[in-house]
Protein backbone atom coordinates (compact mmCIF):
# COMPACT_ATOMS: atom_id res chain seq x y z
CA UNK A 1 0.00 0.00 0.00
CA UNK A 2 1.47 3.31 -1.08
CA UNK A 3 1.67 5.87 1.66
CA UNK A 4 2.28 9.49 0.88
CA UNK A 5 5.02 10.77 3.13
CA UNK A 6 3.16 13.72 4.57
CA UNK A 7 4.97 16.42 6.48
CA UNK A 8 3.36 17.24 9.78
CA UNK A 9 0.12 16.04 11.32
CA UNK A 10 -2.63 14.43 9.29
CA UNK A 11 -6.29 13.69 9.96
CA UNK A 12 -7.09 10.05 9.26
CA UNK A 13 -10.50 8.48 9.20
CA UNK A 14 -9.16 5.08 10.08
CA UNK A 15 -10.57 2.05 11.77
CA UNK A 16 -10.09 0.27 15.05
CA UNK A 17 -7.69 -2.66 14.73
CA UNK A 18 -8.05 -3.93 18.30
CA UNK A 19 -8.96 -2.96 21.87
CA UNK A 20 -7.24 -4.90 24.63
CA UNK A 21 -7.48 -4.81 28.40
CA UNK A 22 -4.08 -4.17 30.00
CA UNK A 23 -4.34 -4.26 33.80
CA UNK A 24 -6.74 -1.47 34.71
CA UNK A 25 -6.29 0.18 31.31
CA UNK A 26 -7.31 -0.29 27.71
CA UNK A 27 -4.90 -0.28 24.79
CA UNK A 28 -6.45 0.70 21.45
CA UNK A 29 -4.71 0.09 18.15
CA UNK A 30 -6.01 2.01 15.15
CA UNK A 31 -5.16 1.68 11.49
CA UNK A 32 -3.94 5.16 10.68
CA UNK A 33 -1.56 5.31 7.76
CA UNK A 34 0.29 8.58 7.55
CA UNK A 35 0.47 8.93 11.34
CA UNK A 36 2.44 5.80 12.22
CA UNK A 37 5.23 6.54 9.73
CA UNK A 38 5.88 10.00 11.13
CA UNK A 39 5.55 9.43 14.87
CA UNK A 40 8.46 10.27 17.17
CA UNK A 41 8.55 9.42 20.90
CA UNK A 42 6.48 11.77 23.05
CA UNK A 43 4.01 12.77 20.35
CA UNK A 44 0.29 12.20 20.72
CA UNK A 45 -2.92 11.67 18.81
CA UNK A 46 -6.22 13.54 19.21
CA UNK A 47 -9.18 11.20 18.81
CA UNK A 48 -12.76 12.24 18.04
CA UNK A 49 -15.38 10.50 20.15
CA UNK A 50 -19.13 9.89 19.81
CA UNK A 51 -19.26 9.77 16.00
CA UNK A 52 -19.88 12.33 13.24
CA UNK A 53 -23.19 13.40 14.74
CA UNK A 54 -22.34 12.77 18.38
CA UNK A 55 -22.79 15.15 21.28
CA UNK A 56 -19.18 15.13 22.51
CA UNK A 57 -17.28 17.58 20.34
CA UNK A 58 -13.89 17.78 22.01
CA UNK A 59 -11.08 15.49 20.93
CA UNK A 60 -9.39 13.29 23.51
CA UNK A 61 -5.59 13.43 23.47
CA UNK A 62 -3.48 10.31 24.11
CA UNK A 63 0.26 9.76 24.04
CA UNK A 64 1.33 7.31 21.38
CA UNK A 65 2.46 4.04 22.98
CA UNK A 66 3.76 2.35 19.86
CA UNK A 67 3.45 2.27 16.09
CA UNK A 68 3.76 -0.68 13.74
CA UNK A 69 3.79 -1.43 10.05
CA UNK A 70 1.22 -4.16 9.47
CA UNK A 71 1.79 -4.71 5.77
CA UNK A 72 -1.52 -4.80 3.94
CA UNK A 73 -3.28 -3.06 6.84
CA UNK A 74 -0.92 -0.11 6.67
CA UNK A 75 0.57 1.61 9.68
CA UNK A 76 -1.08 1.27 13.06
CA UNK A 77 -0.90 3.49 16.12
CA UNK A 78 -1.51 2.25 19.65
CA UNK A 79 -2.49 4.36 22.65
CA UNK A 80 -3.49 3.58 26.22
CA UNK A 81 -6.37 5.02 28.19
CA UNK A 82 -8.46 4.61 31.31
CA UNK A 83 -12.22 5.06 31.40
CA UNK A 84 -12.64 8.41 33.14
CA UNK A 85 -15.84 9.79 31.65
CA UNK A 86 -18.32 9.50 28.81
CA UNK A 87 -15.75 10.04 26.06
CA UNK A 88 -13.38 7.31 27.18
CA UNK A 89 -16.38 5.05 27.91
CA UNK A 90 -17.40 5.49 24.27
CA UNK A 91 -13.88 4.62 23.15
CA UNK A 92 -13.90 1.53 25.38
CA UNK A 93 -17.00 0.26 23.52
CA UNK A 94 -15.30 0.38 20.09
CA UNK A 95 -14.56 -2.92 18.42
CA UNK A 96 -12.35 -4.02 15.52
CA UNK A 97 -13.30 -2.36 12.20
CA UNK A 98 -15.32 0.43 13.84
CA UNK A 99 -14.51 3.77 12.18
CA UNK A 100 -12.41 6.21 14.17
CA UNK A 101 -11.14 9.71 13.39
CA UNK A 102 -7.59 10.36 14.54
CA UNK A 103 -5.32 13.40 14.11
CA UNK A 104 -1.58 13.01 14.57
CA UNK A 105 1.22 12.87 15.21
CA UNK A 106 0.87 16.02 17.28
CA UNK A 107 3.18 17.97 19.53
CA UNK A 108 6.90 18.21 20.05
CA UNK A 109 8.67 14.91 20.74
CA UNK A 110 11.29 14.19 23.40
CA UNK A 111 14.72 15.63 22.63
CA UNK A 112 17.27 12.87 22.26
CA UNK A 113 20.87 13.16 23.47
CA UNK A 114 23.38 13.70 20.69
CA UNK A 115 25.92 11.40 22.40
CA UNK A 116 25.30 8.11 24.23
CA UNK A 117 24.05 9.05 27.70
CA UNK A 118 22.65 7.44 30.82
CA UNK A 119 18.91 8.04 30.83
CA UNK A 120 16.35 7.43 33.56
CA UNK A 121 12.77 7.14 32.31
CA UNK A 122 10.09 7.83 34.92
CA UNK A 123 6.45 6.98 34.32
CA UNK A 124 3.32 7.28 36.45
CA UNK A 125 0.39 4.97 35.70
CA UNK A 126 -0.52 4.76 32.03
CA UNK A 127 1.34 8.04 31.60
CA UNK A 128 4.35 5.75 31.12
CA UNK A 129 3.02 4.79 27.66
CA UNK A 130 5.24 7.07 25.50
CA UNK A 131 8.42 6.05 27.35
CA UNK A 132 8.82 2.71 25.57
CA UNK A 133 9.20 4.19 22.08
CA UNK A 134 11.61 6.62 23.69
CA UNK A 135 13.58 3.78 25.32
CA UNK A 136 13.85 2.12 21.92
CA UNK A 137 15.16 5.29 20.29
CA UNK A 138 17.62 5.90 23.12
CA UNK A 139 18.99 2.35 22.99
CA UNK A 140 19.49 2.65 19.24
CA UNK A 141 21.71 5.64 20.03
CA UNK A 142 23.75 3.58 22.45
CA UNK A 143 22.22 5.13 25.57
CA UNK A 144 21.84 3.28 28.86
CA UNK A 145 18.17 3.16 29.86
CA UNK A 146 16.82 2.63 33.38
CA UNK A 147 13.16 2.79 34.32
CA UNK A 148 11.22 3.95 37.34
CA UNK A 149 7.55 3.04 37.10
CA UNK A 150 5.00 3.99 39.70
CA UNK A 151 1.24 3.76 40.20
CA UNK A 152 -1.45 3.60 42.85
CA UNK A 153 -1.38 -0.21 42.82
CA UNK A 154 -0.06 -3.19 40.85
CA UNK A 155 -2.96 -3.19 38.36
CA UNK A 156 -2.24 0.39 37.45
CA UNK A 157 1.42 -0.11 36.66
CA UNK A 158 1.80 0.09 32.92
CA UNK A 159 4.48 -1.53 30.80
CA UNK A 160 6.32 -3.53 33.47
CA UNK A 161 7.29 -6.29 31.02
CA UNK A 162 8.35 -3.83 28.30
CA UNK A 163 10.50 -2.03 30.83
CA UNK A 164 12.16 -5.20 32.09
CA UNK A 165 12.91 -6.24 28.52
CA UNK A 166 14.41 -2.90 27.48
CA UNK A 167 16.12 -1.46 30.53
CA UNK A 168 19.31 -2.10 32.45
CA UNK A 169 17.21 -1.89 35.61
CA UNK A 170 13.63 -1.18 36.63
CA UNK A 171 12.44 0.20 39.95
CA UNK A 172 8.73 -0.10 40.77
CA UNK A 173 6.75 1.85 43.33
CA UNK A 174 3.10 1.58 44.32
CA UNK A 175 1.17 3.76 46.74
CA UNK A 176 -0.23 0.67 48.50
CA UNK A 177 2.92 -1.44 48.30
CA UNK A 178 1.16 -4.12 46.20
CA UNK A 179 4.15 -4.23 43.84
CA UNK A 180 7.72 -2.96 44.23
CA UNK A 181 8.48 -0.41 46.92
CA UNK A 182 5.68 1.31 48.77
CA UNK A 183 5.80 5.01 48.00
CA UNK A 184 6.21 7.41 45.09
CA UNK A 185 8.59 7.40 42.13
CA UNK A 186 10.25 10.50 43.54
CA UNK A 187 11.13 8.52 46.71
CA UNK A 188 13.35 6.07 44.80
CA UNK A 189 14.55 8.44 42.05
CA UNK A 190 17.52 9.93 43.98
CA UNK A 191 18.98 6.45 44.51
CA UNK A 192 18.37 5.47 40.84
CA UNK A 193 20.04 8.64 39.54
CA UNK A 194 23.05 8.02 41.75
CA UNK A 195 23.33 4.29 41.06
CA UNK A 196 23.01 4.63 37.26
CA UNK A 197 25.10 7.82 37.10
CA UNK A 198 22.23 9.35 35.13
CA UNK A 199 22.77 12.28 32.76
CA UNK A 200 19.13 13.03 31.99
CA UNK A 201 15.63 12.18 33.23
CA UNK A 202 12.62 11.72 30.95
CA UNK A 203 9.24 11.74 32.66
CA UNK A 204 5.59 11.37 31.81
CA UNK A 205 2.64 11.13 34.16
CA UNK A 206 0.39 13.25 36.37
CA UNK A 207 1.48 16.85 36.97
CA UNK A 208 2.25 16.47 40.72
CA UNK A 209 4.54 13.53 39.87
CA UNK A 210 6.31 15.56 37.20
CA UNK A 211 6.82 18.43 39.64
CA UNK A 212 8.35 16.02 42.17
CA UNK A 213 10.63 14.49 39.50
CA UNK A 214 11.87 17.94 38.53
CA UNK A 215 12.59 18.75 42.19
CA UNK A 216 14.59 15.53 42.70
CA UNK A 217 16.53 15.80 39.41
CA UNK A 218 17.25 19.46 40.05
CA UNK A 219 18.88 18.54 43.38
CA UNK A 220 20.88 15.56 42.05
CA UNK A 221 24.68 15.45 42.26
CA UNK A 222 24.77 17.64 45.35
CA UNK A 223 22.58 20.30 43.82
CA UNK A 224 24.25 20.43 40.39
CA UNK A 225 21.12 18.90 38.91
CA UNK A 226 20.50 17.08 35.64
CA UNK A 227 18.09 18.02 32.85
CA UNK A 228 14.52 16.72 32.85
CA UNK A 229 12.28 16.42 29.82
CA UNK A 230 8.70 16.12 30.94
CA UNK A 231 5.65 15.33 28.79
CA UNK A 232 2.78 17.19 30.50
CA UNK A 233 -0.86 16.19 30.78
CA UNK A 234 -3.02 19.29 30.41
CA UNK A 235 -6.63 18.97 29.33
CA UNK A 236 -7.09 19.86 25.68
CA UNK A 237 -10.08 20.54 23.47
CA UNK A 238 -8.57 20.39 19.98
CA UNK A 239 -4.97 19.14 20.21
CA UNK A 240 -3.95 21.14 17.14
CA UNK A 241 -3.23 24.57 18.64
CA UNK A 242 -6.39 26.57 18.01
CA UNK A 243 -8.48 26.38 21.18
CA UNK A 244 -6.01 27.90 23.69
CA UNK A 245 -7.29 25.80 26.59
CA UNK A 246 -4.21 23.64 27.36
CA UNK A 247 -1.88 26.46 28.43
CA UNK A 248 0.66 26.46 31.24
CA UNK A 249 3.26 29.00 32.42
CA UNK A 250 6.66 28.32 30.82
CA UNK A 251 9.85 30.39 31.00
CA UNK A 252 11.39 31.19 27.60
CA UNK A 253 15.02 31.66 26.52
CA UNK A 254 14.58 35.37 27.25
CA UNK A 255 13.64 34.65 30.87
CA UNK A 256 10.04 35.74 30.30
CA UNK A 257 7.11 33.58 31.36
CA UNK A 258 4.48 32.93 28.74
CA UNK A 259 1.25 30.93 28.77
CA UNK A 260 2.20 28.27 26.21
CA UNK A 261 -0.04 25.69 24.60
CA UNK A 262 0.94 22.18 25.70
CA UNK A 263 -0.35 20.77 22.38
CA UNK A 264 1.93 22.64 19.98
CA UNK A 265 4.67 24.07 22.23
CA UNK A 266 4.71 20.78 24.19
CA UNK A 267 3.71 18.28 25.41
CA UNK A 268 7.42 17.81 26.11
CA UNK A 269 9.04 20.72 27.93
CA UNK A 270 12.38 21.11 29.67
CA UNK A 271 11.42 20.53 33.30
CA UNK A 272 13.30 23.57 34.59
CA UNK A 273 11.28 25.86 32.29
CA UNK A 274 7.85 24.98 33.69
CA UNK A 275 6.57 27.16 36.54
CA UNK A 276 5.46 24.12 38.57
CA UNK A 277 4.38 26.21 41.56
CA UNK A 278 2.14 28.34 39.32
CA UNK A 279 0.27 25.63 37.37
CA UNK A 280 -3.40 26.52 37.03
CA UNK A 281 -2.64 30.20 37.48
CA UNK A 282 -1.29 33.07 35.41
CA UNK A 283 1.78 34.40 37.26
CA UNK A 284 1.75 38.19 37.68
CA UNK A 285 5.04 38.47 35.80
CA UNK A 286 3.78 36.49 32.77
CA UNK A 287 3.75 38.29 29.42
CA UNK A 288 0.34 39.90 29.03
CA UNK A 289 -0.75 39.38 32.65
CA UNK A 290 -0.89 43.13 33.25
CA UNK A 291 -3.49 43.59 30.51
CA UNK A 292 -5.75 41.10 32.28
CA UNK A 293 -6.10 43.48 35.23
CA UNK A 294 -8.07 45.86 32.99
CA UNK A 295 -10.69 43.23 32.16
Amino acid sequence: MAVTQAKGPVQVRGEVFSVKQVGDYLAMTVVASGIAEQTRPGQFVAVAVSGDDGSMLLRRAFSIYQVADRGVYGGTVEFVFAVHGKGTAWLARRRAHDPIDVVGPLGRPFKLPAQPAHCVLVGGGYGAAPLFMLADALRKRGCRVDFVLGAANADRLFGALDAKRMAASVAFTTDDGSYGEQGRVSDVLPEVIERTRADVVYACGPMPMLAAVQRVAGEAYAGAGIPVYAAVEESMACGVGVCMTCVLPVVGDDGQTRMLRSCVDGPVFAGDRIRWDALGTVPDDAVGAAAMKVH
Partner: protein, 354 residues
Protein backbone atom coordinates in the same frame (compact mmCIF):
# COMPACT_ATOMS: atom_id res chain seq x y z
CA UNK B 1 -33.20 38.08 -4.12
CA UNK B 2 -34.51 37.12 -7.57
CA UNK B 3 -37.08 34.52 -8.43
CA UNK B 4 -35.80 31.11 -7.67
CA UNK B 5 -36.98 27.95 -9.21
CA UNK B 6 -36.29 24.99 -7.04
CA UNK B 7 -35.81 22.06 -9.34
CA UNK B 8 -35.89 18.42 -8.55
CA UNK B 9 -32.74 16.43 -8.02
CA UNK B 10 -33.29 14.85 -11.44
CA UNK B 11 -31.83 17.92 -13.19
CA UNK B 12 -29.35 18.91 -10.47
CA UNK B 13 -26.52 21.29 -11.39
CA UNK B 14 -23.03 19.81 -11.36
CA UNK B 15 -21.29 21.07 -8.21
CA UNK B 16 -18.45 22.60 -10.22
CA UNK B 17 -20.86 25.05 -11.85
CA UNK B 18 -22.24 26.48 -8.60
CA UNK B 19 -21.48 30.13 -7.94
CA UNK B 20 -20.56 30.08 -4.24
CA UNK B 21 -19.40 33.69 -4.09
CA UNK B 22 -20.48 35.97 -1.28
CA UNK B 23 -20.65 39.73 -1.67
CA UNK B 24 -20.07 41.23 1.76
CA UNK B 25 -20.69 44.96 1.52
CA UNK B 26 -18.92 45.24 -1.82
CA UNK B 27 -16.04 42.88 -1.11
CA UNK B 28 -16.52 39.63 -2.97
CA UNK B 29 -15.27 36.34 -1.56
CA UNK B 30 -15.14 33.28 -3.81
CA UNK B 31 -16.51 31.05 -1.07
CA UNK B 32 -19.00 31.76 1.76
CA UNK B 33 -17.35 29.66 4.50
CA UNK B 34 -15.03 31.35 6.98
CA UNK B 35 -13.40 30.21 10.20
CA UNK B 36 -14.93 31.90 13.24
CA UNK B 37 -12.89 34.15 15.50
CA UNK B 38 -11.23 32.33 18.40
CA UNK B 39 -11.54 28.92 16.79
CA UNK B 40 -8.74 29.03 14.24
CA UNK B 41 -6.01 31.11 15.95
CA UNK B 42 -4.62 33.03 12.96
CA UNK B 43 -5.13 30.23 10.47
CA UNK B 44 -1.69 28.69 10.33
CA UNK B 45 -2.48 25.74 12.62
CA UNK B 46 -5.32 24.69 10.30
CA UNK B 47 -3.27 24.74 7.11
CA UNK B 48 -2.32 21.03 7.42
CA UNK B 49 -6.03 20.13 7.26
CA UNK B 50 -7.56 22.67 4.86
CA UNK B 51 -6.72 24.58 1.72
CA UNK B 52 -7.33 27.94 3.35
CA UNK B 53 -7.14 29.72 -0.01
CA UNK B 54 -10.22 27.77 -1.14
CA UNK B 55 -12.51 28.93 1.67
CA UNK B 56 -13.84 32.46 2.12
CA UNK B 57 -11.17 33.38 4.61
CA UNK B 58 -9.91 33.24 8.16
CA UNK B 59 -11.48 35.42 10.84
CA UNK B 60 -8.55 35.82 13.22
CA UNK B 61 -8.73 35.51 17.00
CA UNK B 62 -9.71 38.91 18.44
CA UNK B 63 -6.62 41.05 18.76
CA UNK B 64 -6.06 43.84 21.26
CA UNK B 65 -3.51 46.63 21.53
CA UNK B 66 -1.35 44.90 24.16
CA UNK B 67 -0.32 41.25 24.63
CA UNK B 68 -2.69 39.32 26.88
CA UNK B 69 -1.87 36.21 28.91
CA UNK B 70 -5.47 35.04 29.05
CA UNK B 71 -7.14 33.61 32.15
CA UNK B 72 -6.04 30.78 34.45
CA UNK B 73 -7.02 27.19 33.64
CA UNK B 74 -9.40 25.35 33.53
CA UNK B 75 -10.60 27.41 30.57
CA UNK B 76 -12.92 24.90 28.98
CA UNK B 77 -15.70 22.45 29.81
CA UNK B 78 -17.49 20.14 27.41
CA UNK B 79 -21.30 20.28 27.37
CA UNK B 80 -23.91 18.34 25.40
CA UNK B 81 -23.28 19.23 21.74
CA UNK B 82 -21.26 22.21 22.83
CA UNK B 83 -18.60 23.64 25.08
CA UNK B 84 -18.07 26.45 27.49
CA UNK B 85 -14.90 28.54 27.23
CA UNK B 86 -13.28 31.31 29.17
CA UNK B 87 -9.95 32.01 27.49
CA UNK B 88 -9.77 35.72 28.22
CA UNK B 89 -8.66 36.72 24.70
CA UNK B 90 -5.09 35.46 25.05
CA UNK B 91 -3.05 37.04 22.29
CA UNK B 92 0.23 38.66 21.26
CA UNK B 93 -1.04 42.22 20.81
CA UNK B 94 -1.55 44.06 17.53
CA UNK B 95 2.11 44.70 16.64
CA UNK B 96 3.25 41.07 16.91
CA UNK B 97 0.02 40.02 15.21
CA UNK B 98 0.68 42.22 12.17
CA UNK B 99 4.29 41.18 11.92
CA UNK B 100 3.83 37.45 12.36
CA UNK B 101 0.24 36.33 11.87
CA UNK B 102 -1.21 38.72 9.33
CA UNK B 103 1.98 38.54 7.29
CA UNK B 104 1.69 34.74 7.18
CA UNK B 105 -1.91 34.95 5.96
CA UNK B 106 -0.94 37.43 3.24
CA UNK B 107 2.08 35.37 2.15
CA UNK B 108 -0.16 32.32 1.96
CA UNK B 109 -2.83 34.10 -0.13
CA UNK B 110 -5.45 33.56 2.57
CA UNK B 111 -8.13 36.23 2.88
CA UNK B 112 -7.94 37.78 6.35
CA UNK B 113 -10.86 39.14 8.34
CA UNK B 114 -9.24 40.75 11.37
CA UNK B 115 -11.24 40.65 14.59
CA UNK B 116 -10.47 43.48 17.00
CA UNK B 117 -11.37 43.85 20.67
CA UNK B 118 -10.82 46.54 23.27
CA UNK B 119 -11.70 47.87 26.68
CA UNK B 120 -12.64 51.36 25.54
CA UNK B 121 -13.91 53.12 22.41
CA UNK B 122 -10.44 54.56 21.97
CA UNK B 123 -8.83 51.08 21.98
CA UNK B 124 -11.05 50.02 19.09
CA UNK B 125 -10.36 53.23 17.15
CA UNK B 126 -6.59 52.78 17.54
CA UNK B 127 -6.74 49.15 16.44
CA UNK B 128 -8.78 50.04 13.34
CA UNK B 129 -6.35 52.83 12.48
CA UNK B 130 -3.41 50.42 12.81
CA UNK B 131 -4.99 48.23 10.10
CA UNK B 132 -4.61 50.96 7.46
CA UNK B 133 -2.38 49.77 4.65
CA UNK B 134 -2.47 46.18 5.94
CA UNK B 135 -3.58 43.14 3.91
CA UNK B 136 -7.05 43.02 5.48
CA UNK B 137 -10.17 42.02 3.55
CA UNK B 138 -12.60 42.92 6.30
CA UNK B 139 -12.69 44.02 9.94
CA UNK B 140 -14.91 42.28 12.45
CA UNK B 141 -15.50 44.19 15.66
CA UNK B 142 -15.84 41.97 18.72
CA UNK B 143 -18.01 44.16 20.94
CA UNK B 144 -18.65 41.41 23.52
CA UNK B 145 -16.02 42.97 25.80
CA UNK B 146 -16.40 44.86 29.07
CA UNK B 147 -16.22 48.65 28.74
CA UNK B 148 -13.87 49.88 31.48
CA UNK B 149 -15.33 53.36 31.09
CA UNK B 150 -18.78 52.08 32.02
CA UNK B 151 -18.33 49.83 35.08
CA UNK B 152 -17.39 46.88 32.89
CA UNK B 153 -20.72 46.80 31.08
CA UNK B 154 -20.41 44.78 27.87
CA UNK B 155 -20.54 47.04 24.80
CA UNK B 156 -22.66 44.54 22.85
CA UNK B 157 -25.45 44.64 25.44
CA UNK B 158 -26.12 48.33 24.98
CA UNK B 159 -27.18 49.95 21.70
CA UNK B 160 -25.49 53.27 22.50
CA UNK B 161 -22.16 51.70 23.51
CA UNK B 162 -22.21 49.39 20.47
CA UNK B 163 -22.87 52.36 18.19
CA UNK B 164 -20.07 54.39 19.79
CA UNK B 165 -17.53 51.64 19.09
CA UNK B 166 -18.71 51.08 15.53
CA UNK B 167 -18.72 54.74 14.55
CA UNK B 168 -15.21 55.19 16.00
CA UNK B 169 -13.97 52.14 14.10
CA UNK B 170 -15.65 53.20 10.86
CA UNK B 171 -13.99 56.64 11.16
CA UNK B 172 -10.45 55.30 11.60
CA UNK B 173 -10.63 52.02 9.65
CA UNK B 174 -9.14 51.87 6.15
CA UNK B 175 -11.75 53.04 3.65
CA UNK B 176 -13.02 50.33 1.32
CA UNK B 177 -12.58 47.69 4.02
CA UNK B 178 -16.01 46.64 5.33
CA UNK B 179 -16.58 46.85 9.07
CA UNK B 180 -18.80 44.12 10.52
CA UNK B 181 -20.09 44.27 14.09
CA UNK B 182 -20.24 40.90 15.86
CA UNK B 183 -23.34 40.79 18.00
CA UNK B 184 -24.01 39.03 21.28
CA UNK B 185 -27.23 37.04 21.67
CA UNK B 186 -27.35 37.98 25.37
CA UNK B 187 -29.63 40.97 24.77
CA UNK B 188 -33.35 41.63 25.04
CA UNK B 189 -33.76 42.83 21.47
CA UNK B 190 -31.00 41.92 19.01
CA UNK B 191 -32.69 43.93 16.23
CA UNK B 192 -32.31 47.12 18.26
CA UNK B 193 -28.53 46.54 18.63
CA UNK B 194 -28.26 45.58 14.96
CA UNK B 195 -30.01 48.77 13.87
CA UNK B 196 -27.81 50.88 16.16
CA UNK B 197 -24.65 49.35 14.66
CA UNK B 198 -25.83 49.83 11.09
CA UNK B 199 -26.84 53.45 11.78
CA UNK B 200 -23.37 53.99 13.27
CA UNK B 201 -21.75 52.86 10.02
CA UNK B 202 -21.42 49.07 10.24
CA UNK B 203 -21.32 47.68 6.70
CA UNK B 204 -22.59 44.33 7.90
CA UNK B 205 -23.17 42.17 10.95
CA UNK B 206 -21.76 38.90 12.24
CA UNK B 207 -24.08 36.95 14.46
CA UNK B 208 -23.83 35.45 16.93
CA UNK B 209 -21.08 35.45 19.54
CA UNK B 210 -21.23 32.84 22.34
CA UNK B 211 -23.93 32.99 25.00
CA UNK B 212 -22.95 33.05 28.67
CA UNK B 213 -23.21 29.86 30.68
CA UNK B 214 -21.94 28.04 33.75
CA UNK B 215 -20.93 24.42 34.29
CA UNK B 216 -20.57 23.04 37.80
CA UNK B 217 -18.13 20.22 38.51
CA UNK B 218 -20.07 17.79 40.68
CA UNK B 219 -16.87 16.28 42.12
CA UNK B 220 -15.28 19.52 43.35
CA UNK B 221 -18.77 21.04 43.71
CA UNK B 222 -17.39 24.28 42.28
CA UNK B 223 -17.75 25.96 38.87
CA UNK B 224 -15.78 23.96 36.29
CA UNK B 225 -14.09 27.06 34.82
CA UNK B 226 -11.57 29.22 36.66
CA UNK B 227 -13.43 32.22 35.21
CA UNK B 228 -16.75 30.83 36.61
CA UNK B 229 -18.83 31.88 33.59
CA UNK B 230 -17.90 31.08 30.00
CA UNK B 231 -19.20 31.43 26.48
CA UNK B 232 -21.37 28.54 25.28
CA UNK B 233 -20.83 27.50 21.67
CA UNK B 234 -21.38 24.55 19.37
CA UNK B 235 -24.42 22.85 17.80
CA UNK B 236 -26.34 23.31 21.08
CA UNK B 237 -26.80 27.02 20.26
CA UNK B 238 -27.59 26.68 16.55
CA UNK B 239 -31.35 27.32 16.77
CA UNK B 240 -30.68 30.39 18.93
CA UNK B 241 -28.20 31.72 16.38
CA UNK B 242 -30.56 31.00 13.50
CA UNK B 243 -33.34 32.88 15.26
CA UNK B 244 -31.08 35.92 15.61
CA UNK B 245 -30.10 35.81 11.92
CA UNK B 246 -33.76 35.42 10.99
CA UNK B 247 -34.91 38.39 13.08
CA UNK B 248 -32.13 40.70 11.93
CA UNK B 249 -32.53 39.78 8.25
CA UNK B 250 -36.29 40.36 8.51
CA UNK B 251 -35.71 43.82 9.97
CA UNK B 252 -32.69 44.80 7.84
CA UNK B 253 -32.92 42.78 4.62
CA UNK B 254 -30.33 44.91 2.78
CA UNK B 255 -27.60 44.44 5.40
CA UNK B 256 -25.14 41.60 4.67
CA UNK B 257 -24.93 39.07 7.50
CA UNK B 258 -22.34 36.48 8.49
CA UNK B 259 -24.16 33.59 10.20
CA UNK B 260 -22.34 31.93 13.11
CA UNK B 261 -23.40 29.42 15.74
CA UNK B 262 -23.04 25.66 15.88
CA UNK B 263 -22.59 24.99 12.17
CA UNK B 264 -21.35 21.43 11.79
CA UNK B 265 -22.39 20.43 8.25
CA UNK B 266 -23.14 21.94 4.86
CA UNK B 267 -26.85 21.64 5.57
CA UNK B 268 -26.41 23.58 8.82
CA UNK B 269 -24.70 26.31 6.77
CA UNK B 270 -27.55 26.24 4.26
CA UNK B 271 -30.03 26.85 7.09
CA UNK B 272 -28.18 30.07 7.95
CA UNK B 273 -28.15 31.17 4.32
CA UNK B 274 -31.87 30.51 4.00
CA UNK B 275 -32.45 32.51 7.20
CA UNK B 276 -30.64 35.49 5.67
CA UNK B 277 -26.87 35.05 6.01
CA UNK B 278 -24.75 35.89 2.95
CA UNK B 279 -21.83 33.93 4.40
CA UNK B 280 -21.15 31.71 7.39
CA UNK B 281 -18.42 31.14 9.94
CA UNK B 282 -17.60 27.78 11.47
CA UNK B 283 -16.11 27.68 14.94
CA UNK B 284 -16.40 25.04 17.62
CA UNK B 285 -16.75 22.24 15.05
CA UNK B 286 -13.10 22.87 14.14
CA UNK B 287 -12.08 21.47 17.54
CA UNK B 288 -13.98 18.32 16.64
CA UNK B 289 -12.88 18.21 13.02
CA UNK B 290 -9.94 20.42 12.00
CA UNK B 291 -10.82 19.94 8.33
CA UNK B 292 -14.40 21.16 8.90
CA UNK B 293 -14.07 24.51 7.04
CA UNK B 294 -13.16 22.84 3.73
CA UNK B 295 -15.61 19.99 4.32
CA UNK B 296 -18.54 22.30 5.09
CA UNK B 297 -17.80 24.35 1.98
CA UNK B 298 -17.86 21.13 -0.10
CA UNK B 299 -21.04 19.92 1.54
CA UNK B 300 -22.78 23.26 1.05
CA UNK B 301 -21.85 23.21 -2.63
CA UNK B 302 -23.31 19.70 -3.00
CA UNK B 303 -26.44 20.69 -1.10
CA UNK B 304 -27.01 23.58 -3.52
CA UNK B 305 -26.34 21.31 -6.51
CA UNK B 306 -28.84 18.72 -5.27
CA UNK B 307 -31.45 21.44 -5.05
CA UNK B 308 -30.68 22.81 -8.50
CA UNK B 309 -29.49 26.13 -7.07
CA UNK B 310 -26.84 27.69 -9.29
CA UNK B 311 -25.99 30.75 -7.22
CA UNK B 312 -25.68 30.79 -3.44
CA UNK B 313 -26.64 34.49 -3.42
CA UNK B 314 -30.03 33.60 -4.94
CA UNK B 315 -31.16 31.77 -1.81
CA UNK B 316 -30.00 34.20 0.87
CA UNK B 317 -33.07 34.74 3.07
CA UNK B 318 -35.20 32.43 0.94
CA UNK B 319 -36.86 30.87 4.00
CA UNK B 320 -38.63 34.20 4.63
CA UNK B 321 -40.86 33.81 1.54
CA UNK B 322 -44.52 33.05 2.26
CA UNK B 323 -45.43 29.40 2.40
CA UNK B 324 -46.53 27.92 -0.91
CA UNK B 325 -50.17 26.82 -0.53
CA UNK B 326 -50.50 23.10 -0.96
CA UNK B 327 -54.05 23.26 -2.52
CA UNK B 328 -55.36 26.02 -4.81
CA UNK B 329 -57.46 28.53 -2.87
CA UNK B 330 -61.23 28.64 -3.59
CA UNK B 331 -62.24 31.71 -5.58
CA UNK B 332 -64.12 34.30 -3.52
CA UNK B 333 -67.90 34.36 -4.04
CA UNK B 334 -68.88 37.04 -6.56
CA UNK B 335 -71.92 39.42 -6.67
CA UNK B 336 -75.15 38.57 -4.88
CA UNK B 337 -74.81 34.91 -5.50
CA UNK B 338 -74.71 33.11 -2.24
CA UNK B 339 -72.39 30.18 -2.17
CA UNK B 340 -73.92 26.78 -2.09
CA UNK B 341 -74.02 25.81 1.59
CA UNK B 342 -71.86 22.93 2.54
CA UNK B 343 -73.43 19.61 3.35
CA UNK B 344 -74.61 18.43 5.76
CA UNK B 345 -76.64 21.53 6.62
CA UNK B 346 -77.71 22.20 10.17
CA UNK B 347 -81.30 21.03 10.68
CA UNK B 348 -83.42 21.78 13.71
CA UNK B 349 -86.36 19.71 14.86
CA UNK B 350 -89.65 20.61 16.56
CA UNK B 351 -90.43 19.22 19.94
CA UNK B 352 -92.65 16.18 19.45
CA UNK B 353 -96.03 16.42 21.28
CA UNK B 354 -96.80 13.65 23.70
Amino acid sequence: MGDVTIRTTADATPPADIDMSADLAGVVFADPVFTASGCAAAGRELAPYNDLTAIGGVVTKSIQLQPRSGRPTPRMAETSSGMLNSIGLQGPGIEAFLERDLAWLADSDVRAVVSIAGSSVEDYAKLAARLRGQPVSMIEVNISCPNVEDRGQVFACDAGASAAVISAVRRTAPSGVPVFAKLSPDVTDIVEIAQACVSAGANGLSLINTTLGIVIDTTSMRPALAGITGGLSGPAIRPLALRCVWQVHAALPEVPLMGIGGIRTGLDALEFVLAGASAVQVGTVIFNDPSAPARISRELRSALAERGIERLADVVGLAHRPPVPSVPEEPDPVGDELPEPAHPRHVSFEEASP
